[in-house]
Every structure is written in structure tokens, then in C-alpha cells.
Symmetry: none
Subunit: 246 residues, 2 copies
Amino acid sequence: MNPFASLDRVRVVMSHTTHPGNIGACARAMKVMGLSRLYLVNPKHFPHDEAVAMSSGATDVLDAAVVCDSLEMALAGTVAQAALTARRREMALPVREVRAAATELATLLAAGSAEVALVFGTESSGLTNEEVAMCSLPVTISTSDTYRSLNVAAAAQIMCHELRTAVASVSPVVAELPDLAPHEGLESLYALIETLMLESGFLDRVNPGRAMPRLRRLFGRAQLESEELHLLMGALKAIGGKRRGG
Amino acid sequence: MNPFASLDRVRVVMSHTTHPGNIGACARAMKVMGLSRLYLVNPKHFPHDEAVAMSSGATDVLDAAVVCDSLEMALAGTVAQAALTARRREMALPVREVRAAATELATLLAAGSAEVALVFGTESSGLTNEEVAMCSLPVTISTSDTYRSLNVAAAAQIMCHELRTAVASVSPVVAELPDLAPHEGLESLYALIETLMLESGFLDRVNPGRAMPRLRRLFGRAQLESEELHLLMGALKAIGGKRRGG
């Protein structure tokens, strides 16, 4: 089963967005992460050409966007709402880092048929206290102390990426392992290198120093694949062997 | 000590950027995450009013941007380079997920004075295979299978966020990390190997095949130390050079 199917149950809610270009950029940010359900609470300009231009082909997300009169309406039916907030509020809310919030949401999504929301405020000042209070998870993204101007579509990009990553790690992943070179193949390689270094005079027979242990360490660490081993053997034989022959 | 101070040793490299607005948006994405060092390889338009407009006050990052003629120049002195790539290549590169790459880079940054780079390609087609081959860590950001149009500044936003998060969570280093070979040292090694393979007839000049990309992949993965680099260069010169001399 596709682990990302649950992203169909995630709404991205933009409240009182001023610049339509940001709506388009957000649609693109969503779609590239596999999200599709955009809700717009009282956008200043929508639909708009700039939204289409900035969406870079994610016009299906814009076309299907739900325009709402209130945040309540946009959140109706969702069981968890992550509200992006840059500020620490007076009421000492338990603000989550974005990664922790993504894990919480992914767990909910994996559990059943619940819908969740990611909520973003207006460009100039973010979500109001009242809007944050309507959401279950106040979320913050760590920024520089001296410059906190995170674009709303960039914030959506980060949150959608974090949620996609969290959703993927809920399911077991089977990774294909490379065909690693066997032990005896590596030994042949070391023997060849040593012979060539001795014959060329690079290594002194009586006092060979630490060159071989170092090379063993290097190739051991690299976890050489069979194909790479054959390539190295062939190249070294050609480079060194011709000298011997000619 | 401020855990984010090490972000001063991170370069963001944009190669052949077409739209100056993306350079400005990238500067903003960097600054909000605490990064400041922007390198531009052959930007189509720079400086430009659109870059300033999209930077939202991060003009100090734009003013200090280093414009380069080549990616080599932008990467000189860095010991690790994360190259954002959307595509699975024919040769099954060991591509890291962005989170794993961020952890690797954060570990390097914590260890000492090393500089690292985050590298982004042109808007239409991303980094070329040659550009990716110059970097030590091919990195991918998981996207939808059906829509992969991740904006370059949005990709930079995600990578800078992941790196900031990783830097914050990296524990103080107990073990000393190795002295890694710089980018230009690795390029010298590749040049030497290629020359030797061509001279020995192992590689065909007209149809060199995939030996060099494979070797780049191997040594990139191995994260060669400076001492190992010198050892390999010395040994190869002896093995190959004697043949030439004699």
C-alpha cells in the first residue's frame, strides 16, 4: 500500500492571505509533497493570475481550493490542527517543534480515517491568538534569532515535507542492498596493490610502513561493491601490468 | 556556545540560476535558517531588482554573494558537498535522503573547522551529471511520483531547515573526526587516475565508458582523508610513472 495515500486526508489552510502569489506557491509546495486539499479563509485576491503563475502547473490544487468565510468552517471535521506560530504567546502554550508535530499528525493519519489540518496565517503578522486557540497543536519552526521572516509558502513547504517524511517512517521500508564484494575479492585487491607498490619502488620491502593498513581501512570503510572491485582490479592490472610487460 | 555558529561554514551554491527572483528567495530561505554564504555559478541575471524584491530584506546575503565561473571554484576548500538531485541515475548512485545527508554534514561541522556546501542546479533541469559527480553526497528530497516540480528556493528552504535541525541535535563530538581531503584534492586524484588509465590503454579515449563515474562514486562515498589521498596519489604516480619513465 502507498504510505502517502493518507496525505489525502490533510488540509492546508491559509487564513487571510494577502498576496495571491503565495497561494500559488503554497499549492506547488503542497502538490510536490503529495498533498492536494487547499482551504482559503477570506483570501484578499482569489482566484488570481499570480496564483496560477506561481503554482507552476499545480492548478488542479487551486481549482479544487475551498474558499471559506471563517477558520471554523475550514477546520470542521478535522481531528487535529497544527497552527504555525512564530511567537511565544503570553499564555505559555505547549508549542511543538515542527518535527514533533509532524510525528503526532502522522500517527493519527496512520491510525484510521481522521482528517488533520496545517494552518497558516496572514503574511504580515501570522495567525491571531484567537486562530491559534482554535487549533490543537501550536507549532513552531526554528529560525535565526535575528531574522525571522519565513515566507508563508516556504513554511508550508517545510511543514508538508516534515509531514511527508513522518508519514513515510510510520510504514516499514524495504531497501535494496548493493551487491558487496566478498572478503576474498578484497584480499586479492590488497595483494595486487601491494605487489604493484613493491615492484614500482613506492614501498620498501624491508620497511613497508603503514600504507597497506591504511588502504585496507579505506576500502573496508567504503564497503566496496563487486562491480567496483572488478573495475579497480582491471584498471590496476592495466596500469601496472603494461609497465612490467613493456 | 551557540550551536548554530557552525552554519557560518556552510555555503549554498546555486549553479546557472535562470530567474533572479529565485536567488532572492534562496537568500531569504538561507537567512531565516541562520545561513549567510551564497555562491552563484554563472547566474543568468545578477545583481537584479527581482532578487532584491524576493529577498525580503536579506540583502546582506545578496551583497556578500560570491559569483563564480565554475562549480569547481565555488566548491574549492569544502570537504563535503551535498548535491540536490531529483532523478535516479542509470548507475544507481547511493543517494541519501535529505535528513541523512543533513546529519552527516552536521557531524562534520561539529567536528572542527571544515566547510561544506549545499549545491542546487538550474531551474529547468537541475544539476548535470557532471556537476553531481563533483559532489560527495547526492541528496534527494522525497516528492510525489506524479508531480516533482520542487522550486529551487523551496528545495534550499528544506535543506537549510534540515541542516539547522540536525546541527541543533548533534551531540558534542567525543571522537575526533578525520581530516577530510578537500574537493580540489579529489579532482586531482580523478585526473591522475584517468590519465593513467588512458595511457595504459585500460580506457579507450573515444569511448571511455563508465569507469570514471564509478570511481568518483566509490571515492566520494569513502569520504577520503587527506592522508589517504596523498598515499593514493603517491602510489599511483609510482606505479604508473615508472612505466612511463622505463
